[in-house]
Symmetry: C2
Subunit: 795 residues, 2 copies
């Protein structure tokens, strides 16, 4: 008996240290996972007091044992219980509020804590995003040169400060010197070019080295875009530390470095992760959110909206992005709060004014020519391109990431990043369109040519009205075509490296290039063929009928849509991004086409593909379950398996229960009236059982292995010399979800999705037959889709 | 035994005729409720053939009896079953598609039928909305005068046709004559005024009389805004004919008449109803949607978005309106389709171009001055006003409607409408702001004063930059204040009359008046107190710092928000309506304040209040269930009630089953293994039982009252001389939802909401204990809120 206890004890200690270790390394999350009482108790045990500490008679029915009702890392939460717990809490506060003024104030502050939290999330994320923008801008410019007035000025700032610039040449001023000028004294000639080239590569390598080293050393979770993991977390999974303090700090710093290094990545996805980290950390200020996993996920959903809101200055697009793409459970309350937080964040960002144009809009465009119905054809063509590119990108990127995981490539992340950064820098520098940052490139491609514009893209022979292409434009087109090929290839291997990397900007850049090329093509076609019947009537000579910038915008939306499969949110983001409320129809046509085309090659977007690659337990809410299996085919135990491990509501001893728990690895056990009747009473979680028994052995007088474990309401009569029973009704879930064995799997999947279940019991004619978990369902779905069911790693 | 059958027979015929009658009067919906087979069979029975018709051996397991699985009028659907049915259908089509090319084509067309349907809904609703706009515009102008070129021209059109008008006086041309001019030959003097006044009243009375008579004579469901009923229908309720052909026709016509009559109502809410009617009718073209109540509701959700999209030219606002305010079940697929349909509709409307400005935007504004942070104070003040007004309006309107229902007032709807119309016309004519239509008023109030503006509202002493109020403005302010009081009072008694009536425009008008008044006040305050510290710095003399039009816009949003409790969708609608993407923050601040203030007085919006007034079974998805009851407290039977009526899976005869069904009024019966064990097997619906037994008696050889009813998979052995058993496993739901008696009610309510259940069985330790229905829950909720539980009328 003693070994039995000791063995269990050790097992438990093991677990505890593991959790502790994880918590320590990420510092932020532990306080809610291990509330004070439990921690203290555990450390006293670890100090060898072994149950001899102060014992107290605790009735588990009245005072919940600390730790009961919490979750382990890499586990799925039970949404229904969590929400119910929160309602209990709320009810208690409301009831108390009638008794005293202090309680009333507490109740009011509790009601407004959600809004306050949103305000804080908005402010913090907005401020961080502003900081990231400014820092990234500065470091990006650093690759080209330095400001003589002060090295902390970026190019634009540096020349603002100087008074010698005219509006036309606002990016040329003597205070800003390129590295060649600084070192060789001249900015002309081959030598200067080579110096600039080498300095560009040097900075790129330095920044990317710093980024990858910081990520590896301090916060491995800070790499990637973070959206796949956030989607999984929002669906009810627990990854401790993923949204912690260190992740936030390191991700913020390395994001700046990665963006500045010139790698083909954006800062938009990671900003969502940063906003979610902010939200998670701020949640700790409010008991309501600290202690409840479901409530916290509501805040995280709103934070995802905030992330996009600050990334693009698109509050409504952000809310829709969270709704359409990221969130799992999105009640109306969350919609309102998301909107509020997104607005606060956008407003904060505008106050910081990192772009210096005091607009929320990132790529403001003003097109003068309306679009014509005939143009829908090229727009749809762009949609098809976007869809094809999206499907291709997902396949190629996933294949590459799988190779990284399975071969030795994955062992050298630093070298990989350095090689890619060097390759990017070497190939990008000679072409002015790849040398500039992704956002600048998109901005230039979206812009319509005005009379004052000196960019190569506007190298027409004449700019007003009729615009035959000039030599400058032809050069630009060549360069753009090369940039397109380069961007397409490099983005595939960049996304998924061990640095923070977003996909939005690279995808949009690729689409914008393709769109601009098509747009200029259409424009020239119309110019040289005014009399074609399709151009007749709306594109008469002298009229400015085709806007290549609009094509770039549509192309950007199409490519981003193909990769992420967003639709409504994408259109809204695009028009918030550009201020072009009039171009909903072209954008919509392109994104819908893109989605349809991409879906024909595979239903998953890039984020879902990465979730599957990582084996997270994510039950896709968009996909319908189409197979005709019944629950009985999917549940455990299968016909050949041993019978289901159950507890009886009375008659089992503590030792028997412990032996059962030890000998299996299940996360929970159904409680039945008796093994013969198999009538279901409730469900007890493994973790709760272990913690409660452990606690009772230590604090409750006379609980030994021979004590009876009782789940009934009233203790049964037993021999007078028997040890006192251990009453565990308090930890039993009295309302376990059940379905019958004949329930079609599509209904069961629906129930799991909509209610956010972790497990469900299966009955036949009122008798307990088996259990079905989220993992079982995911494995079954993988099997149907001819994938490896063992790729689902977690429960 | 024979009487037994006959009694049942008559009972059944009764039901059938009732359904038939209802169907006939609305003509549209019957075809899916009574598919051919069943109808034929019923009529042959009605003709006295009494079971002597051609008999056929039908195995109910193989060929479902027609009528089984459909619903009666005023009943709640079972979402889970409907969705499962659709998935079965889809699976069948997919499986077949591998066999032949025709089947493959069928499968493809089935997959795209949803999008095609959306396209059709968009086109039809857009076209209808365009027609309504044009007709309403014409009839509204008719109240003032007539066009000499042709009476079918409206005022603006009439003067367009004439060439003699300048831009300045584009609404004055000789071709358009007021009634006074036409009758007395002059438009000057008191007599002419009186003639115009009388004609105005005459037309108002005529239009409103026509409207109310048409509604009463042909389609009683065409009155009101329709949104409360559509909300209820979307939550899973069936109201036959509410979305039928006649309702559509009559609502379209009477909406034009009601709007033109000058009553204080808008056409926006009814347009949602019109769009839903279109969608429902178009659903009949596609089997997928005709036969499935859940799929049809997805289409209706999208149609609600279309309605708002055409009402305001705000496609994104429409989608969000459907999501936030109307829909119950809104999966992402519906989001995409809604967006597509809303876009098509807006595009169609734009092509029709009813406003003649070729903009989607209804009240286009262009403000030049940005808003200042200090202005948030008056904006929040407007929010408070909007919230107070919303709460007050809902109380007053519900009290008035309740009085109409309970007193003799409700017996004279025609007189009521005429009296209100006369009152409105008499009081509205003298004041130019109430004489013009609501939309015109709002448009005028939103507009900023430009140099060219000749309206009274712009009666400043000088218009450019500094604007001290002039005499014209003071008059306008007085008139506006009177208009505000008048609108507030008349709207309370208008909404809910037996004519189509929307709330959006009147609410917005009230808010816009209040906002404009405050805006002008602020402006004058700033003008005369340039040196106050709050105005210093941003409102220096000579600068145009306060825009009264913006205040009107914010006020309109606040009042509409207070009445309907919309937030995000409202802000999006407002900025799509006005094109003012820059004013999200003021709009948001006002709507959030308005919602908070109004919620403090009562959580219900006007639509929920009307749903409750009508006793519809609507389970509010926004509201949390906060009471701590358990399911056992709410379920039936209560402790004092007789035991639950159950069927056993074998051993009952047809006669016994019929007797049980006859003697109760329950909609369904649980099937148990035996009365002693109370172990649940499944659930059989009353309607299905009746239809199947009836069908079997007629078509199946040897089914008499003594036949055994068998729900098991294999027929039990029975005496050789016994009549053949009636096997009804096919109609039994093998996967009824169950919860345990200890489940907290908040979880049960959550399950009902999220899965869209109609009933759920309650078990205790694996034994069947009772049943809980949506109605039980609603009654319980009413009881908790100290309302009459019997106000819930339907199941």
């Amino acid at each position: 008996l003693h070994t039995d206890r000791k063995h269990h004890h050790q097992h438990y200690l093991h677990l505890y240290y593991w959790v502790k270790l994880l918590s320590l390394s990420f510092l932020v999350v532990p306080h809610f996972s291990l509330p004070g009482g439990y921690e203290e108790y555990s450390s006293s045990r670890a100090a060898g007091m072994n149950g001899n500490g102060p014992t107290k008679l605790v009735d588990p029915l009245e005072d919940p044992v600390p730790g009961v009702g919490t979750y382990e890392d890499f586990n799925t939460i039970d949404w229904v219980r969590e929400k119910s717990k929160d309602r209990d809490r709320h009810r208690e506060i409301t009831n108390k509020s009638r008794q005293s003024t202090v309680a009333l104030l507490h109740s009011v502050s509790d009601a407004f804590s959600g809004w306050l939290l949103m305000l804080l999330v908005g402010l913090m994320s907005g401020a961080l995003a502003g900081g990231i923008d400014i820092a990234a801008h500065w470091l990006t410019d650093m690759k080209g040169g330095v400001c003589l007035i002060g090295f902390w000025f970026n190019h634009e700032h540096c020349c603002w400060t100087s008074n010698e610039t005219t509006f036309q040449e606002r990016d040329r001023c003597p205070q800003w010197q390129s590295w060649a000028e600084l070192i060789t004294g001249t900015s002309e000639g081959a030598f200067a070019y080579i110096v600039n080239y080498l300095m560009y590569i040097f900075w790129a390598l330095l920044f990317s080295f710093l980024a990858v080293t910081l990520v590896r050393a301090f916060a491995p979770y800070a790499c990637g875009s973070g959206i796949p993991e956030i989607k999984t977390i929002l669906s009810g999974f627990i990854i401790r530390g993923y949204l912690g303090k260190w992740t936030l700090i390191i991700k913020t710093i390395t994001l700046v470095l990665a963006v500045s290094s010139g790698l083909s990545l954006g800062k938009e996805g990671p900003l969502v992760h940063v906003a979610c980290c902010c939200a998670n950390i701020l949640c700790h200020l409010f008991t309501k959110y600290r202690k409840n996993e479901a409530k916290r996920r509501e805040v995280l959903s709103a934070a995802a909206a905030v992330g996009v809101s600050v990334a693009f200055g698109a509050p409504i697009g952000g809310v829709l992005f969270s709704l359409e793409e990221v969130s799992y459970y999105f009640p109306l309350k969350t919609l309102w709060r998301s909107f509020f937080a997104a607005l606060v964040a956008a407003f904060t960002l505008r106050s910081i004014n990192p772009f210096g144009n005091s607009r929320l809009v990132l790529f403001y465009v003003e097109f003068h020519a309306p679009w014509h119905l005939v143009e829908l054809a090229p727009f749809i063509l762009l949609g098809i391109f976007g869809g094809l590119w999206g499907a291709l990108f997902i396949r190629a990127n996933i294949a590459w990431c799988r190779r990284r995981k399975s071969t030795r490539l994955g062992h050298y992340p630093v070298i990989e990043v350095l090689v890619v950064a060097a390759l990017t820098a070497v190939l990008a520098f000679p072409n002015s369109y790849t040398r500039m940052s992704g956002a600048e490139l998109i901005s230039e491609l979206f812009n319509d040519c005005s009379l004052l514009d000196s960019s190569q893209l506007c190298g027409y022979k004449q700019v007003c009205s009729d615009r035959p292409a000039g030599k400058g434009l032809y050069t630009a087109l060549w360069q753009l075509a090369l940039a397109l090929v380069f961007k397409m290839l490099i983005t595939v291997i960049t996304f998924g490296m061990k640095v923070p990397s977003g996909l939005f900007i690279p995808s949009m850049a690729i689409g914008a290039i393709a769109g601009r090329l098509l747009g200029v093509g259409m424009e020239q076609l119309a110019y040289y063929n005014h009399d074609w019947f399709i151009f007749k009537g709306w594109c008469s000579p002298g009229a400015d009928c085709i806007t290549p910038g609009l094509y770039a915008m549509v192309g950007a939306a199409a490519c981003l849509g193909g990769v992420t499969r967003m639709t409504v949110s994408l259109v809204v983001i695009m028009f918030e991004l550009t201020g072009g409320l009039e171009y909903i129809v072209p954008l919509m046509a392109a994104t819908m086409t893109s989605k349809w085309v991409a879906d024909a090659f595979g239903r998953e977007g890039i984020y879902e593909a990465h979730i599957r690659l990582n084996g997270y337990p994510f039950l896709e809410p968009k996909e319908e379950f189409e197979h005709s299996s019944l629950t009985v085919d999917v549940m455990r135990p299968r016909r050949s398996d041993p019978a289901l491990a159950v507890l009886t509501q009375e008659g089992m001893t503590v030792g028997e229960v412990e032996a059962l728990v030890e000998s299996t690895h299940y996360s929970g056990f159904p409680v039945v009236v008796s093994k013969e009747s198999q009538r279901l009473v409730g469900f007890a979680l493994r973790r709760d059982l272990l913690i409660s028994i452990d606690n009772a052995r230590k604090r409750q007088e006379g609980i030994v292995s021979a004590s009876q474990v009782v789940f009934t309401e009233h203790a049964p009569s037993q021999a007078p010399d028997a040890p006192p029973p251990l009453r565990l009704r308090g930890i039993m879930d009295l309302s376990p979800f059940t379905v019958t064995d004949h329930t079609p799997m599509d209904i069961t999947v629906d129930i799991f999705r909509k209610l956010g279940l972790r497990q469900c019991l299966v009955t036949h004619n009122g008798r307990l037959l088996g259990i079905i978990t989220k993992k079982d369902i995911l494995k079954h779905m993988a099997q149907i889709a001819n994938r490896d069911p063992d790729s689902i790693l977690f429960n």
